[in-house]
């Protein structure tokens, strides 16, 4: 009787500590893990300039935004505050030929961004953020007209080459080479 009991004890692998070991490893990985999703402002750079002349763009279809080294913003030579940028861009892109000084259509509208060589990066990003906000607003408005919740929801549903809103309101942002300054 005693003998039998002893043998049964020896047969079992001690599994009680396993959970502890697993917990320890789990805690280690929990601490080490950084699930940092990369967020940022996406942009498309233009291909390098070639010898061909770029197609001429009419003056009214270009909006020149300049950010200088002090972080001041000029839109078509006209000083504006950071808060005004978004409205100005919306007005410019969504003009549809009404105002003869603003763009003819959203497809033709180009926002040209220029900085000084010693403009601070965060001033540039703040301004770019406003421009992106303007486009987002316009695209959201169009998506709502089509009965969608937002542009984001729309673009997730529709395949990329059938995205009508993107076609209608393209983000034509041109990055001009910075002014060497003094």
């Amino acid at each position: 009787m005693l003998n039998k009991k002893k043998r049964r004890d020896a047969d079992e692998v001690p599994g009680a500590g396993m959970a502890d070991i697993a917990f320890l490893l789990l805690v280690f990985f929990l601490v080490v893990t950084t699930i940092d999703v990369d967020t940022g402002i996406g942009m498309q750079l233009p291909p390098p300039p070639d010898d061909e002349e770029p197609p001429p763009i009419r003056e009214r279809n270009i909006m020149n935004i300049l950010v200088n080294a002090q972080g001041q913003i000029l839109i078509n030579e006209d000083p504006v505050s950071l808060q005004e940028v978004q409205d100005r861009v919306i007005e410019f892109v969504d003009n549809h030929g009404e105002n003869p000084e603003l763009s003819e259509s959203p497809q033709q509208a180009v926002v040209s961004i220029m900085t000084d060589r010693n403009t601070r990066y965060d001033d540039y990003i703040d301004m770019l953020d406003e421009v992106m906000g303007a486009y987002k607003e316009l695209r959201d408005a169009m998506a709502r007209e089509m009965g969608e919740d937002s542009y984001e929801a729309y673009s997730e549903r529709v395949p990329q080459d059938e995205n009508v809103i993107r076609e209608e309101i393209p983000q034509n942002i041109s990055l001009a080479e910075p002014d060497p300054g003094n």
Partner: protein, 148 residues
């Protein structure tokens, strides 16, 4: 009567814990897969700036990073603004073109994430962008934090 009583007393009161290690292991494996140990040591300081209208990059594998910021000299000192790709500082800007060209031939859908210190100046950023244009890596992303 007594038989019935005995049966009821026999049922275990404790929560069965035999499956616990399995559950823990499952969690463990999940975190092991998700974890990305920091594979590069930053040689420049990058305090990211904030923006509101940002997008997420879902495909992490497509991302290649370029860091731009003041060089870390140790003891809380910072040097001039430098560019770091992978684990080395860039000495000659012409090299960026070659390095990025090699990367885009390997992965044509490459997205270059620019992680730029907020105090950097645009000159160096646009020099890097100029090299990227020549390398053919047109898709970039200005890495920012979310401004709430």
């Amino acid at each position: 009567m007594s038989k019935f009583k005995k049966k009821a007393a026999n049922t275990k009161q404790a929560v069965p814990t035999s499956a616990m290690p399995d559950i823990i292991f499952m969690l463990l494996i999940f975190f092991m897969v998700v974890t990305v140990l920091r594979e590069v040591e930053l040689l420049v300081r990058v305090n990211k700036t904030e923006a509101r209208n940002i997008e997420r990059i879902e495909q992490r594998r497509l991302i290649s990073y370029i860091w731009i910021g003041p060089e870390i000299l140790g003891a809380g000192q910072f040097g001039d603004t430098r560019v770091q790709i992978d684990d080395a500082l860039v000495e000659d800007f012409g090299n960026i073109r070659q390095v990025m060209y090699d990367k885009i031939t390997e992965e044509p859908r490459l997205i270059v994430s620019l992680r730029v210190d907020e105090e950097s100046e645009m000159g160096i950023v646009s020099d890097v962008q100029e090299e990227l244009r020549h390398a053919g890596t047109y898709r970039i992303n200005y890495s920012t934090l979310e401004d709430l």
